[in-house]
Symmetry: C2
Subunit: 654 residues, 2 copies
């Protein structure tokens, strides 16, 4: 084969071309800057400002911080028509859901409407998603209510409870905005898809169980959230069950589920499920008014004040014994609502082929909650179900949020007395129908098929939320998935490589059955950064490979070279450097030479720094590819020894 001659030839003559070179010198400061940029500004948001005039930069900057300026300047009547339709549609969903979710958070129903008025306006100015429909959501409401209830009873001290809820909202917003400003958005990435699927299914069950209170008409209900106490509370209070409430609940639940089913089958009929909750509220209210339901044991919402959001900055409590709880609640609901908002924003951005900037969205959602906490709103974010309806209804810009907001304002100003006779049971039915969509069985099956560990994480989140608590379930699941990453580092893959016949390619011997071993060589590929967490393992594992090798090789020629393919070692620390020193010493005692192949920039640099006597990194044990290393070392071996005549024929062909 003529290619063989060529390669061997080029190897002897052009050796310097193929040499491993250290990276161009950079000062510590330069390296630090690059790393800082990659860590916090991977999307390089300042790129568009480069090479622009000052005026242009100011305009770009204003558009960057207020996306409304971007789409506002090209807004047309045609776009408005689309936004009007979608805005009215989501308003018809937002009003009953707002009232329902506020009750889920143990807050007065009207707070849910307040929260559907101010935050959407803020988001319309600051947010970059076209589809996000902003307002209270089930999970954040659930967590807020259940966490605060640990210390304060919403029925005994309603004012204090509201104060704590608003303060938590303030901290949630502050935390969200800080994550965005400090560009720490990657923190929410730790709530992986698998965790979210398990968590949302668990939360759906927890939320649905809470609705048994209103669906069954129970008055003395447990304050706890998890499955066991709720079920025991339901069956202990069996005497409180009200058949009128149950009948009404079942009727509306069936109605809503049918509407949901219709819209899922035919996406064009999205308005069926979008309008159904409002229809149910209207029908049930009329019914209750007609039959004087309060006399039949059906509990009603009762009087609601007219008027838009009162200011509430004087209700924020930054001192007192509950501060710790309030901060904790703020951070947890902040993370959860942020995760939901960003995930929803990204999903629809991908569908519509536009981009949302995670860090900017965090600032928008954070500002919205901080302002919300000053105007009697509790934690809000982009809701999945309403955003889907918004998108289906043809929303083109964030103006649909403005339309919704105005509609809610009109309701607050003029229509509040109408809700007086709305029964709580219909709100329960609305919540159950909304959260059922959070249970995603096909996604769970998909995860099971692809990755068993992810499935385990999902189950942990699910059972943790259902049986213990939302916070603990999430924490354990996040811990488990982080542990997996650490385990991958602690036990990195090391793979024995062989030559694929007829090529100079070396690949995993277990994967490529045709790959063959090269006698005298042990070629290992290390597939992780080398650091303190894995040097003991790598040392032990390499020694085991070598011992096994020497046992096998007793009849054959003995092991001469340990070739470490380092292409995948992306980083190394001082412990990693000491591993190489140790390995080299051990190998020398066994008469085996340590050869490194393609160490990356950082690794070469550090090895050089640690290797003052320059005995470690030399041209004859540092190669650019495994093929070259084997070819070069085989020829040295041949020229050194007189008895390896037959070894030559086993050298792979080039």
């Amino acid at each position: 084969m003529d290619s063989n001659t060529f390669s061997m030839h080029s190897h002897c003559v052009q050796m310097e071309i193929h040499q491993v070179v250290p990276p161009p010198h950079k000062s510590t400061l330069q390296k630090f800057k690059v790393r800082l940029k990659e860590t916090f500004f991977p999307d390089d948001p300042l790129r568009q400002f480069k090479g622009q005039t000052l005026q242009k930069r100011l305009i770009l900057g204003a558009k960057y911080f207020f996306p409304i300026l971007q789409w506002g300047s090209i807004y047309s009547f045609k776009l408005f028509k689309s936004d009007l339709v979608s805005g009215l549609t989501i308003a018809s969903l937002a009003i009953p859901q707002g009232i329902s979710y506020a009750k889920l958070a143990n807050l007065p129903p009207i707070v849910g409407l307040y929260s559907s008025f101010v935050p959407p306006l803020i988001y319309a100015v600051l947010g970059s998603s076209r589809d996000l429909a902003v307002g209270p959501v089930s999970i954040a409401s659930l967590v807020l209510g259940s966490m605060l209830r640990q210390e304060v009873s919403p029925s005994a001290e309603p004012v204090l409870f509201l104060q704590l809820a608003l303060t938590s909202t303030f901290f949630a917003g502050l935390f969200q905005a800080s994550l965005g400003i400090l560009r720490l958005g990657f923190i929410i990435d730790f709530l992986s898809k698998a965790i979210l699927i398990g968590f949302m299914a668990g939360a759906a069950i927890i939320v649905s169980l809470q609705q048994l209170k209103s669906l069954l008409g129970i008055t003395h209900f447990t304050q706890q959230m998890s499955l066991v106490p709720v079920m025991s509370s339901v069956f202990q209070n069996i005497h409180e069950w009200s058949w009128q409430t149950i009948v009404m609940g079942i009727c509306f639940l069936v109605l809503l589920l049918i509407a949901r089913h219709v819209s899922m089958r035919k996406p064009k009929l999205f308005w069926v499920s979008a309008g159904a909750p409002l229809m149910c509220v209207i029908i049930s209210t009329l019914l209750c008014f007609a039959i004087k339901a309060q006399n039949h044991g059906i509990s009603l919402i009762g009087k609601l004040h007219e008027g838009i959001n009162p200011s509430s900055w004087n209700m924020l409590k930054f001192h007192g014994s509950h501060l710790g709880l309030v901060v904790k609640t703020g951070i947890i609901t902040g993370i959860l609502s942020l995760t939901e908002g960003i995930a929803v924003g990204r999903t629809f951005a991908a569908l519509g082929n536009y981009k949302v900037d995670g860090n900017k969205e965090m600032m928008a959602i954070g500002c919205m909650n901080v302002v919300g906490s000053f105007t009697s709103c509790y934690v809000t974010t982009g809701a999945f179900s309403r955003s889907a309806v918004n998108n289906n209804a043809g929303a083109k810009t964030a103006a649909s949020n403005i339309v919704m907001s105005v509609t809610v304002m009109v309701t607050l100003l003029f229509l509040m007395p109408l809700f007086q006779y709305t029964p709580n049971v219909v709100l329960g039915a609305i919540i159950v129908t909304a959260v059922i969509g959070l249970i995603d069985i096909p996604a769970a099956c998909h995860i099971w098929k692809i990755d068993k560990f992810d499935f385990l994480v999902m189950l942990t989140a699910f059972f943790g939320v259902v049986f213990i608590s939302v916070q603990l379930g999430l924490a354990v699941a996040v811990g488990l998935s982080t542990f997996r990453i650490l385990l991958q580092i602690t036990r990195p893959k090391t793979v024995m490589m062989g030559n694929i016949p007829g090529t100079d390619i070396y690949r995993n011997l277990h994967q490529y059955k045709e790959a063959t071993r090269i006698p005298g060589f042990l070629i290992l590929s290390i597939e992780a950064p080398i650091n303190f967490a894995n040097i003991t393992y790598l040392n032990d594992r390499t020694l085991r490979w070598i011992e096994e090798e020497e046992e096998d090789n007793i009849k054959d020629s003995s092991l001469r070279f340990l070739v470490l393919e380092m292409s995948a070692v992306s980083a190394i620390d001082t412990s990693g450097i000491s591993l190489f020193k140790e390995l080299k010493a051990t190998m020398e005692k066994r008469g085996v030479e340590l050869v490194l192949v393609n160490p990356l920039a950082e690794v070469i640099e550090k090895l050089k720094k640690a290797d003052e006597s320059n005995t470690f990194i030399r041209a004859d044990n540092l190669f650019l590819t495994v093929g070259e290393a084997v070819a070069s070392l085989s020829s040295t071996m041949k020229s050194q020894s007189t008895t390896t005549e037959e070894a030559h024929t086993i050298v792979p062909h080039y």
Copy 2:
């Protein structure tokens, strides 16, 4: 170039040889087994049992669990002579250090001698290191004393304090043995070299500061450990300083430091520093007896009981209000003493070219502490300084521990009254001399040179220990280094690759200046597992590469292929799979084709499972090397388009 023809030729004809193949099928259970083995049994301890008869297996098993059977059967008089000398040498060090460290832990001095009698015997039977000299050590003593002192005063309630110390020792041993049995030894790897250097230097300072009490003769000393309260306590009690104590302290300190210096200069004179502490104790005791030192304000040890260790299993307290503290203290001192013992064992094993099995050592040290807690001993482990002396004095087997133990026993039985007049100040001087060796400035400089982040971790551990507390300093340093690993995963390196002219090798464009880009191709190498923590970043970063590419390419031919080199992607999860789906969709919208190069076994398998319609993994977008991908796709490009005639000349040569 003929090689070019060959390679292009082989590529068209032998395409199927170079295909990426999925790994041979394995069931989930098989994969789980392999992973379990790699995680918990990387050293494959059962290998030696394979293919042996039952009897042989039993013998091997007994030798595995009791290494004394291994060396005991070949023990000779010649070995014993060496062990006798080294055993007596370390005994002369162990007796004064044992008394001193017990005082450091706020325990009666005699407990230090008890702890130098039983544990070395146990270790001689179970331990696999030849050089480890077992007994109380400074760091574990310091931490044990300072943690327990948070809740119980050793002067006000000495019996309770001793009970808690013994119970902590029991839990430390239990924890250590469990780590070994459950093969979770990798947990101690998280105390990296950098952390240990910073921590030990900090601990040396804290320990030395505590000795100011005895060196200055202060009677009212603070109960706290960190720098600020200790220094203020020293200067507030300036009226308590005793000049006689100070003079004596300085004399012995200078003497000990000179002895240490001599031995460091000439390792053959190791016995000078090894014998110096005992000499100082003898001289100072005689001196104090002669001058009736107690009348001159010099505090003495006082009466010590004769007799060997009393049993103490009835002193263990497994209930009561201090249980939490005791368990915590046990775990922390357990980890610390384990780390020291294993590190010392490994260091001398590497020097002597034999192996110590980490998990087995953990069991040995754990058993030693559990038995110790039943026999009035507190936490013990292999001490660095004494092991070094042991090694220098020529110890050949663990029998030197037995010799030391017997010497301590003789002391306990007959020589205790002699210590009555030993001044506390000499013990302080002995401790200071011992811990000064823990400050390793050259190692700190080495770390600074190689890795700035490791240096930061080291400083964190140092200042955390000096200014806050041992536990918190360590926890923050471990957290910081774990955070770095997570950051490496969250922000993995993605590198743009180019062709090295005259070869089919592709390498980092920034490292290899001669490497050239291939027009129409964007070749990225991803250098980390792909998972939930980094998909957002990878998505953003890839899009940014492509956008930059398209801006550059406006004049040139436009981008056609995104080639992802996946050799370094060692693992993937469900989120990672969804990244590829998303990337493929985004690329299709831009008219760019996504090509994968050399995905590893696990990645191919999961991609295949997720790709039911089989549109994703196809022969024409899956290649074994970047070179083949570029060659094959360039020829397709050429045959498809008529205007890319000139592109042909830029294709790299093979």
